[in-house]
Symmetry: C2
Subunit: 236 residues, 2 copies
DNA sequence: TCAAAAGTGTTGCAAATACACCCATGT
DNA sequence: ACATGGGTGTATTTGCAACACTTTTGA
C-alpha cells in the first residue's frame, strides 16, 4: 500500500495543511441559570479577552478524543456518558490572525453537581462560568458560535433525552422541569410537563423519595437510558 | 499584532497540521429515485472503489467555498440558491491510509433538470448517480456518511423548505408530493399533503397551468423564498 | 396550623388522519 | 367515451393547552 501511494498525481507534502483546533462549549445549569465555561486568553491573539476553551488536535487523537481531552482539562470531568456532540466546523480563512485555523466545535452538557475545582490551564489565566444571557465581549467569532449552540441545544432537548446530562442520576420531576425551563427561558405547566415526559418513556421512577425541605417528599426518577436517544420523528 | 504573535509559549510551526478535505454528497431525484453522485477513484487509496467526491481545501478558500468549488467541478452547477449545508466533520486518525485527513462533509440538493453533462475530474475515471437504496461498496467510511446524510436530509425536509432545491422553480403540487414521497420512501394522502403544505405558506401559486399528458392541466407553484427557511419549532 | 412544594384530571381546541368522488384534457 | 392524473371537503381521532385543588411534611 505504501508503494502504491507513491504513484499519486500530486505530492502530499505540497498540499496546504491548516491548523486544526477543537473548541468546546461546556454548558451547565448553575443557580438556576444556563451557564457556559469561558476562559480568559493569556496569549495573543485576543489576549485577555474571554473565549471558548479549545486547543489544537493532536496527531494521534480523533476529534472527539481531542474534545474530551479539552473537556477534562477544563473541568476535571472525563465520564463517558456525558453529552458531547459535534456542533459545527468553522473555517473562514481570516478568522484567526495566527493563520489559517479550522476549528471543529463541540458542545457538552454537564451536571452542576459534578463540577469540581476548575483548573487553570497553561493558556488560560482565568476560567469563569457565564450565564448565556449575560455574556461578556468574546474573542474571535465566539459570540456567534454560542448563539448557534444554544439553538442546537434547545432543539436537541425537544426531541432527545439530552437533558440526562444536566442532571444527577437521580432527580425529581421538578428538577427535570427546571432544566427545561432554564434552557428554554420560559415556564411550563407542571401537569402537562409531567404527562408529556412520562408518556415518552425516557425516564422511570426508582421507587425512592427524597425530602428536601418543609414539604411533601418528591419521588425520584432516573433516565432509562443514559446515551443519546432520538425519539421517532416520522410517523410509521 | 505580528510582533505580539512572536511571544507565544508555543511555536506555530511545531504544531501538528493534518490534511483537510471537503467531501460533498450531492443528492438529486432522478427517475423517481433519490440518487447520489459518486465517483470511481482513479488513484489510491481505494483505487477503483466508488466514493463521495471531494478534495483538499485551498489555502485561501473557506470550507463552504471549497464545497461549492467541488460541487461545481462535479456537476457544472454553481448557483447560489442551491441547498448546501455542512453535514459533519470526520477525523478518525486511521480513516485514510495517506495519513491524517480531517474531512469536512457537506451535502447538496440539486434539481434533476439542471444536471448537465457530468464532468470527469482528474481524480475520477468515472462518475455515476446511484440510488441511495442500491449503493455499491464504497471507499473509506463513506457508506456511514451517506446513511447519516439521509437522516439529516429527511429531518430537514420535515421542518424546512429544503425541497425547493430538488425542484424546478415552477412545479405542480404533485411534483412536490413526489419529492417527499421519494425522500421518505412512503406515500402521502394527496388531500392532506396539499392542505398541510399550503397551510405553511412556503409556496404560492403563480397563476399558470401546465398540460402534461392526456388529463386535466395542473396549477403551477413556486417557493416564496428560495433560501433555507426554518419553521418555528417552539411555540411562543 | 401554616407554609411550601408535590402530586393529580378534565375539558376545549386545534391539528392530523382517514377517506371518495368529480373535473379537464387529448385521443 | 374513456383513460389519466388534477383537484376538492368532511367527519373522526389524537395530541396539546388551559386550568385548581388536595396532600405531605417540618417547624
Amino acid at each position: 500500500m505504501k508503494k502504491k501511494l507513491e504513484n499519486l498525481p500530486y505530492k502530499l507534502e505540497n498540499i496546504f495543511k491548516p491548523l486544526v483546533a477543537v473548541d468546546i462549549l461546556i454548558f451547565s445549569i448553575i443557580e438556576n441559570e444556563l451557564k457556559i465555561l469561558l476562559i480568559k486568553r493569556k496569549f495573543p491573539p485576543f489576549e485577555n479577552a474571554w473565549a471558548i476553551p479549545g486547543g489544537f488536535v493532536g496527531e494521534n487523537e480523533s476529534l472527539e478524543q481531542a474534545a474530551r481531552r479539552e473537556l477534562s482539562e477544563e473541568t476535571g470531568l472525563a465520564q463517558i456518558d456525558l453529552f458531547l456532540e459535534q456542533l459545527f466546523t468553522f473555517g473562514e480563512p481570516q478568522r484567526d490572525p495566527r493563520g489559517r485555523v479550522i476549528s471543529v466545535s463541540y458542545y457538552a452538557l454537564i451536571p452542576a453537581s459534578k463540577i469540581g475545582e476548575l483548573r487553570a490551564k497553561t493558556d488560560a489565566s482565568q476560567t469563569c462560568w457565564y450565564a448565556v444571557s449575560k455574556l461578556p465581549k468574546l474573542a474571535f467569532d465566539h459570540t456567534d458560535i454560542i448563539k448557534y449552540a444554544l439553538e442546537r441545544l434547545r432543539y436537541k432537548m425537544e426531541y432527545t433525552n439530552a437533558s440526562y446530562s444536566l442532571l444527577d442520576e437521580e432527580f425529581t420531576l421538578t428538577d427535570l422541569q427546571k432544566v427545561y425551563e432554564v434552557v428554554f427561558a420560559r415556564t411550563f405547566d407542571k401537569r402537562n410537563f409531567r404527562k408529556k415526559i412520562l408518556s415518552l418513556s425516557i425516564i422511570e421512577p426508582i421507587g425512592k423519595k427524597v425530602v428536601r425541605g418543609v414539604h411533601r417528599p418528591a419521588g425520584l426518577y432516573k433516565f432509562s437510558n443514559r446515551q443519546l436517544f432520538v425519539k421517532e420523528i416520522i410517523e410509521p
